[in-house]
Amino acid sequence: MAKNDEPKLHSKSGQIAFESTIVYVVVIFFAILAIIPFWYMFMNATWDSVHVQSHFLLYPKFDGFKSLRANWAYLANKASFKFARGFFNSAVISTSATLLTVYFSALTAYGLTVYQFKGKKTIFAIIVGVMMVPTAVNITGFYKLMETMNLINTKWPLILPAIAAPSTVFFIKQYLDSSLSVEIIEASRIDGAGEFFTFNKICLPIMIPAVATQAIFSFLGSWNNFFAPSILLTKTSEKTLPLMVALLSSDRVVEYGAVYLGLSASVVPVVIVYAFLQRFIIQGVAAGGVKE
């Protein structure tokens, strides 16, 4: 048996090495595929349009960022683009929406976990039920409501509804069920703390891991949102970054260098955030799928 064992072992490890090589090749191929468009975007942003239009370029132009600056000047001078404005609008909307989402979702989840009241189960069931129902289906009604309230071309329709985010409530409640012990709340009550004090000062810090994950996803969702803003925001000064970017798809914009710079400008912030938070994001995605 031992005799037969050795060559077998040998071939097995050889097979594994072979398999590993294939796996590495495939994995590296897809990893490159994932970043090459962004690489192409970044590189071409540094070139002048003439070169971009006639060459396939994968390296930057070393001219002391002259072309890059020219491209930026083009983007900044176009009355219809206003990238800086779009960035600002997106930042305001996403930040406010995220803060509202996480705070009120935590509040709701806490209310549903800690207190006993009539209709609690029904409400939770409804929240879970509507979690996956997209908001896009009521867009005609939503538009009419916003029109009646005079909120078209303002940021409010994109910020206020963030208070009610069923999926965020669901995930935070899942977390609370497993990690909030009722003794803490009772101890706090005995010490004479009010319910809101207990929530804000004692329980909210406990929820931080869940809240942070949800904040990241809420922010990304709001930052990347296109459907509702494209219908509600028509004024250039109110448009968000994705709407500005969408303007670049027009065939009439032939300054390719500037187009790639504009695209890069919308990608870079997200890539930077992602670089720092990718571990949490990936954990969040994994947790979302398995849902323990």
Binding site: L107, F117, V137, N138, G141, L263, G289, K291
Partner: protein
């Protein structure tokens, strides 16, 4: 796991109210921003509004609704008087009275309001310095009209004596009234009062007065917008103009100026500094700059800049307050405001006053001399001073126009109203019939029943309807009857057409052949061959024959001869290939391209008429569906749903978009799930000892966090097609490799693959991470026992991993499907209108998803929006996603238990 909740039970009871308080914000916001709009959407789907501004008319008064919005005299409904009277049982003359009523009322709604009459009365009673006011009679008539809200007094005086009536009086008065001097003085008074208010006001009122000051001086004209347009694009300017802009920029700062111009253009900024307006306006009309003689006796060209420093600036400096106060002593300013002194009486005096204001820092009076790109300041002296005094007055005059605007507009609207419903020219015998006069002749004073409060008064209308005796004849029941009769008639006609003309099955065969080819023809031939478009238009082929069959007989041989034969030229080599295209053009010389197109479309028309007749048999159109509901709409029941499910074109378009969405999703999902399965298996395989997995995972997930719009635009740009000049990345590479380019967006399937690829590329990382989490959560001992039992890795995977992954796979599948149904960002930003595809005989856009369709018909360009149908389609989408959500809900509900049970079962199976 659930310890917290269970223990909280009994204690929590006393805190019940906090439970409600804590979830209240969520419930309230969800109700307002999600449930209420959803209910509105439900509501829309059973109505038929055609614009976002349309209001609900009400459940009752349906007859009034149709009276108002359905014009039965329309020749498209009843071709002649005879058929009209036969169908309605009403004489045309009687019915015309109804139409006349709404013409008068709708024009009153469009042009007049109580507010307008109020404006005229207000301005007309005020002496403007010219000594002319509206006559007491006119005012009386106006007051009377305003009080009983009927147009009767105004029109009666007009019709009785067109030469001497309230309207003519108003018009004459308007001419004398429009005296700039009087208004300029008025405005100086205003400025004075504002300044006075600044001096005497509480600090809290400062902002308000400051606004007044800014607004009272500035007027905007169209030329200004053009200039800003030109400025931002840096097109040709004369050196003079550039110098002036530079001068202003020097004072304000270039970036601020730029931002400011752009702000003005987009409507964010108001023009709050007169100098901007003035200098820039001078840019536009170089001749408006002045010419003067310099000390050497030479003529010089100059431009004025008169600057009113912003109120804010001097409010910040207390010293100005005392300066303004001292104005009363140093200048005649207060006298202008009370009209004791005329602005125009003594120009030297006003120059002195302006100088005082200038010295006080309230206005800056400067003259610039422009030579080439050099600007020098010329001190205000002598006659130059007089010049810019006049300019200052000009500015005030412009402002006067704006103030006058209200009264002018009101009288103008009144004129429009008269023009539209009363005779405009009494001297002509053959003047067109006017509704008001016609009704008068028939003995009904329409004006008595119409109102000027901006909307139809239903009670008054019903009075009128009773008076003309049509109350019963034009009932809703009657409308429904006419609708049904029209439907029956349309159906009968369609059957007749088909019976007489379309027995030949070849019609359909040819028709659908053209149908298929037209897609290619439109996109490939007609679009790039634009330069040929004009050719041959003069000698278009005239289709001979009276009946459709005769026309067909005429067309068929031509069609076969010229079009079918060279189908290989049209279909084969065209697509974006330069060499072949030349070949194709040479081939075209035999028969002109436009002729081909004409023949083709004529032939196709015949086929379309066949389709139309068939449609009429299935869903005949009546009269009620032709109502314009852009302003008001009524309850229509299941009409929208009926259309979506039974009308062929609508159904094909709607379900075509569902199918397109599904196809796009499945084309991306299959490779996505397969790759995710493969990668997740490798990544969890301990035997392989892979390193750097976290980095790889992070990279593969990256596309998922990037804005989808950015990615779509990126792909749109790199796959763009153009024959030369500016080439996109894909074309550069393709040309290097194959010698010629390829137009991805002209092909429906190429563009679909592109979208599918983007979806795959963005989402496989996500799916992979979910699956890895799923595999890691499987009990390790199961794999070990399988290994001990001698299962190879393939067997382990198919017998243990896959079955245990099934719930997660199902979850991924359903949630991806729900997400896929909402697909919008990517196809929307990739869309090209040329890629059409045949769906069940209807041509649809290959990339148009459900949400894109909803968005287009509900929010697209044009007045005739189909909010009702859009809502119905949204609701279908809602139902589909809800069903899928419920599925997910059940999957997640008893997951732990189900999982445990399954795991046990699997373990037993694997153990065998």
């Amino acid at each position: 796991m659930a310890r917290g909740t269970n223990n909280g039970g009994h204690k929590g009871l006393s805190y019940t109210k906090f439970g409600y308080i804590f979830i209240a914000p969520f419930v309230i916001v969800y109700t307002i921003f999600s449930l209420y709009p959803l209910l509105t959407t439900f509501w829309y789907s059973v109505c038929n509004p055609k614009s976002n501004e349309a209001d609900f008319w009400g459940f009752g008064n349906k007859d009034v609704f149709y009276d108002r919005y359905l014009d039965l005299t329309d020749r498209a409904i009843y071709p002649d008087q005879e058929s009209f009277e036969k169908a309605t049982n009403i004489s045309m003359a009687d019915y015309q009275l109804i139409r006349d009523y709404f013409k008068v009322q709708d024009n009153a709604d469009d042009y007049l309001s109580e507010e307008y009459l109020g404006d005229i009365i207000n301005i007309g009673t005020k002496d403007n310095g010219s000594g002319v006011t509206l006559s007491a009679d006119t005012i009386k008539v106006l007051e009377q009209a305003k009080n009983d809200k009927s147009m009767l007094p105004l029109t009666e005086s007009y019709i009785a004596d067109p030469e001497n009536n309230a309207y003519t009086d108003m018009f004459n008065w308007k001419d004398t009234y429009n005296d700039p001097q009087a208004f300029s003085e008025d405005n100086v008074g205003k400025i004075y009062n504002t300044l006075d208010a600044i001096v005497n006001a509480d600090a809290s009122e400062d902002t308000e007065t400051e606004d007044n000051l800014n607004q009272s001086i500035i007027v905007m004209d169209d030329g200004f917008l053009d200039i800003i347009d030109a400025l931002s694009d840096d097109s040709e300017f004369t050196p003079e103009q550039k110098a002036i802009v530079a001068k202003i920029a020097e004072n304000i700062g270039v970036d601020d100026l730029k931002a400011y111009f752009e702000g003005v253009k987009s409507g964010d900024n108001t023009i709050d500094d007169a100098s901007f307006y003035y200098a820039v306006r001078n840019l536009n009309t170089a001749t408006s700059s002045f010419i003067w003689e310099d000390e050497n006796g030479e003529m010089q060209k100059g431009v004025f800049e008169i600057k009113l420093t912003s109120a804010e600036t001097y409010l910040q400096k207390n010293v100005w307050v005392s300066t303004i106060t001292s104005l009363n002593t140093y200048s005649d300013f207060p006298a202008y405001s009370t009209r004791e002194k005329s602005l125009y009486a003594d120009k030297d005096a006003i120059l002195a006053d302006l100088t005082t204001l200038s010295n006080a820092g309230i206005i800056t009076v400067e003259t610039y001399k422009v030579e080439g790109d050099k600007i020098t300041l010329v001190k205000p002296e002598g006659r130059e001073g007089v010049e810019y005094t006049a300019n200052f007055l000009q500015m005030i005059e412009k402002e006067s126009d704006a103030v006058l605007g209200d009264g002018n507009a009101a009288i103008g609207q009144l004129k429009n109203y008269y023009d539209s419903v009363v005779f405009t020219d009494f001297s002509k015998d053959n003047a067109p019939a006017s509704p008001v006069v016609e009704a008068n002749n028939a003995g009904y004073k329409i004006e008595q029943y119409t109102t000027i409060n901006g909307e139809l008064d239903i009670d008054k209308y019903l009075e009128y309807k009773t008076a003309v005796g049509l109350k019963d004849a034009l009932s809703y029941d009657n409308y429904v009857r006419m609708d049904n009769e029209m439907k029956a008639e349309n159906k009968r006609q369609a059957e007749a057409i088909i019976a007489t003309n379309y027995q030949d099955p070849a019609v359909r065969e040819y028709g659908s052949a053209v149908d298929e080819e037209l897609v290619d023809f439109d996109t490939n031939v007609f679009s790039f061959d634009v330069d040929k478009k004009g050719e041959g238009l003069d000698d278009r082929i005239t289709v001979e024959g009276n009946t459709l069959q005769e026309q067909l007989d005429f067309l068929t041989p031509i069609y076969e001869d010229h079009l079918v034969k060279d189908a290989d030229i049209i279909n084969g080599p065209v697509k974006g290939d330069d060499g072949k295209r030349i070949e194709y053009r040479d081939g075209l010389k035999g028969c002109k391209g436009t002729d081909r197109f004409q023949i083709r479309s004529a032939y196709y028309d015949v086929y379309l008429r066949l389709l139309n007749a068939e449609r009429q048999i299935k869903n005949p159109t009546g009269i009620l569906s032709q109502v314009d509901s852009t302003k008001e709409y009524i309850f229509t029941g299941g009409e929208n749903f009926r259309l979506v499910f039974t009308d062929k074109t609508t159904r094909d378009t709607v379900f075509g978009s569902f199918v397109s969405t599904g196809v796009l999703w499945i084309m991306g999902f299959i490779p996505q799930i397969l790759l995710a399965l493969l990668l997740s298996n490798w990544f969890t395989d301990n035997r392989l000892h892979l390193k750097g997995l976290n980095l790889m995972k992070a990279l593969m997930y990256l596309p998922n966090v990037i804005t989808a719009v950015t990615i779509a635009v990126f792909f749109r740009r790199i796959f763009n097609y153009s024959s030369g000049g500016s080439m996109s990345a894909s074309q550069i590479v393709l040309r290097k490799l194959t010698g010629h380019g390829y137009n991805f967006f002209a092909s429906p399937w190429a563009s679909r693959w592109l979208v599918a690829f983007i979806n795959f590329w963005m989402w496989y990382g996500n799916t992979m991470i979910v699956l890895i989490a799923g595999i890691t959560s499987i009990n390790e001992s199961l794999f070990e026992s399988a290994q001990i039992d001698g299962a190879n890795s393939f067997q382990t995977y198919t017998k243990i991993t896959l079955p245990l992954l099934r719930p997660i796979l199902l979850y991924t599948f359903v949630s991806s499907l729900i997400g896929g149904l909402q697909m919008y960002d990517i196809p929307k930003n990739i869309i090209n209108t040329s890629a059409l595809i045949n769906f069940n005989g209807t041509r649809i856009y290959s990339l148009r998803t459900v949400l894109m369709y909803v968005n287009e018909i509900a929010f697209g360009a044009g007045n005739n929006k189909q909010i009702g149908r859009a809502s119905a389609v949204s609701l279908i989408l809602f139902c589909v996603t809800t069903v899928l959500s419920i599925l997910i809900f059940y999957m997640m509900r008893d997951k732990d238990a189900a999982k445990a049970a399954k795991a046990k079962k699997m373990a037993r199976k694997a153990g065998k």
